[in-house]
Symmetry: C2
Subunit: 402 residues, 2 copies
């Protein structure tokens, strides 16, 4: 058994919610969950992790689509979780509301932007939680907190009533304490716009450049996953997409333009308090030129095509979900080190975001190690299959760990 020490949950939730028990007939009856504070809950202000956001944006009159769907399925919403301000960051450090501590080591960052949601599950406060993943915001905190995480195919879980960050990348994601629960909640929420026949996922491709970007712990989880896949009868091969840097470069620009499209008006008119990192990113976003966005958009297009061809509707691309264990808070005292750590993380996650592909993160370290997850990326629309494969992989990995 992994050890979650008696745990300080300070800064994990921004508020508790009461009186939101779900329908007793639902398949999630009896399960409590928290939602990142980007999800609208009727009558409750949504902060988006910023102290001035709610005042400007007003109190939502309606629940987000997923909040309603989970209520119908029987789950009970018990809190709104902390996050990286505006969901625009990967560390989870929030200068306004405080930062939730990593449940496996309180000296380390939880990862973000869905920090509080991941910590609530990692600290065994709730069995599952809602987050969002634009550039890695479910996958990275899942990896750092040693829990299961799911980023669906873009637009396959409805995002109505969720504060956007960058709509062409944004997804509603799920954290869970087990691979089985992750699949169950995924089944409840997945609503692909159209259900088309799919191929069977029968091949595993290990992204070899990702191994170069990873620390020893990140490489080790890939090796473990590869062995487990082979035991499962799925043959694996190494591929070098050559696209990790290109996806990072392209997403940085296209995403920034979309973020600025969302926040331009209120940031200019309201002049909200902003953390240093987010203020800097927003300012840079506002200065991007049309031609630059155009070139990044064109580059994205080429990346999507190449990855679609590579996966061919049947392959799982395997990468470490993060370079290694969660860095210590002290790494982020220095702006240059922060910038580098951020880039190192996002180079592993932005490829799937750029292509809108589903990813499941499975913890793959031993119980006495700091957690690192393995990220399984599938073709568009392969979500349910991918969640099943992840469950089987998890069984193998846990058997191997003994």
């Amino acid at each position: 058994m992994k050890q979650v020490k008696k745990f300080d949950l300070a800064h994990c939730l921004l508020r508790t919610i009461e009186g939101r028990k779900g329908a007793p007939s639902g398949e999630l009856w009896g399960l409590k969950y928290v939602a990142k504070d980007l999800f609208d809950v009727a009558g409750v202000p949504t902060t988006a992790g910023n102290p001035d956001f709610a005042e400007w944006h007003g109190v939502p009159a309606e629940d987000a689509w997923v909040i309603k769907a989970l209520e119908q399925a029987g789950a009970e919403l018990v809190g709104k979780a902390n996050l990286h301000e505006l969901a625009y960051g990967i560390t989870g450090i929030n200068p306004h509301f405080g930062t939730p501590k990593n449940p496996r080591d309180p000296e380390r960052i939880p990862g973000g932007s869905s920090s509080g949601s991941a910590v609530a599950v990692g600290a065994e406060l709730v069995p599952f939680a809602l987050g969002t993943d634009t550039g890695g915001s479910v996958r990275v905190p899942a990896s750092f907190c040693g829990i299961y995480g799911f980023r669906p195919t873009h637009d396959h879980i409805p995002a109505a009533g969720v504060v956007p960050l960058a709509a062409s990348f944004d997804t509603v994601g799920i954290f869970a304490a087990s691979a089985s629960l992750l699949e169950t909640v995924g089944r409840v929420l997945l609503r692909p716009p159209v259900s088309l026949p799919t191929l069977a996922l029968d091949r595993v491709l290990v992204e070899s450049d990702a191994l170069g970007l990873a620390e020893p712990a990140g490489r080790a989880v890939v090796e473990r996953a590869r062995s487990a896949f082979e035991e499962m009868g799925l043959c694996s091969a190494e591929v070098r997409t050559g696209l990790l840097q290109a996806a990072f470069d392209s997403q940085r620009i296209v995403q920034a333009a979309e973020v600025w499209g969302v926040h331009e008006q209120w940031v200019i008119e309201r002049k909200p308090r902003l953390g240093q990192d987010v203020a800097r990113l927003l300012q840079a976003a506002g200065e991007i030129k049309a031609g630059e966005v155009g070139r990044a958009s064109a580059a994205r297009n080429a990346i999507v095509r190449q990855i679609e061809a590579l996966l061919a509707g049947r392959s799982i691309l395997v990468l470490p979900a993060a370079p290694g264990p969660a860095p210590k808070f002290s790494v982020f005292d220095d702006p240059q080190a922060t910038f580098e750590a951020r880039g190192k993380i996002l180079r592993l996650t932005n490829l799937a975001s750029t292509c809108g592909l589903p990813v499941v993160v499975v913890p793959a370290t031993k119980d006495d190690e700091l957690p690192v997850g393995i990220a399984l990326t599938g073709p568009k629309g392969s979500d349910l299959q991918l969640l099943e494969v992840a469950k089987k992989l998890d069984e193998r990995l846990r058997t191997a760990r003994g």
Copy 2:
């Protein structure tokens, strides 16, 4: 029989090509074709319809992918066809190289941007031709010239070696003198990045807002197509997507950013001669702000999702390919009238472009009428099925015309 009068082919081709007979074993052996002068041919400068483009960009060392593929399939390239400057316009009017005349009425525009390719087929110079379609550049000239046109699913015919306009919208398209040849050439060139199982196309949806944007001749072709589809046993329904204007607005901005991304450097450094309309569009593109592109990109994303859900992998959306017959050249003497005519045309074509969907245009007017085509838009990847449905529709329409 429709009448193509003895025809002035001035300005149709920018140059003839010799010595490019195809492989005798290929299925297109014996067929001649022309390519829009955006397609690279080894050793021949590509003008992109601009008098200074080739000098700056150098002579291509290699054929475009489609030129090679057609050669292997036996077809003979005999010329490079005129186009709207940089492919950035829908009229086909080219102030530098002259404008090809519409083969059905020399007082009318050919439509663009693939003007010369459409005219070469419409005037019976060649049985098929290559064009490109970013926002309607195959569909509109096909409709105006009374021929068959195909815009494939985005990225399902490789665009390597083709001068880009806006990569996330650009497609390599085909014109042909018959529905059957259109399908044959389509089969030769279609290379989806991945072949997934598809549903059968079994429903027809008529976009009712499009009828409101059309002239009587445009509405009449939709009525004819609807009757023919019902005779074919495909039931039809009217739908109002409510997205024609939204797609036009979003594409205008995202496309402009991508166009500026392509042309910014050489336009600033080389200061080429530019027609008034293209100069104005490029200037406006350079002035677009990041937030604006971000919002347009997010809007596009929502449109794609809605149309994907509407078509559900099995429906054909039916619109007139153009509001009515080709306007007379005289309409475009006045900038305001030009602007309005352009918008009216693009509101019918930009929805499929925005969503990257395949479209086949079938001539649907009587032989003594000025031509207007019917545009059949299918779900992503339904290209071959759509080409077959178009062939059957065409048989019905021709039988009905007697």
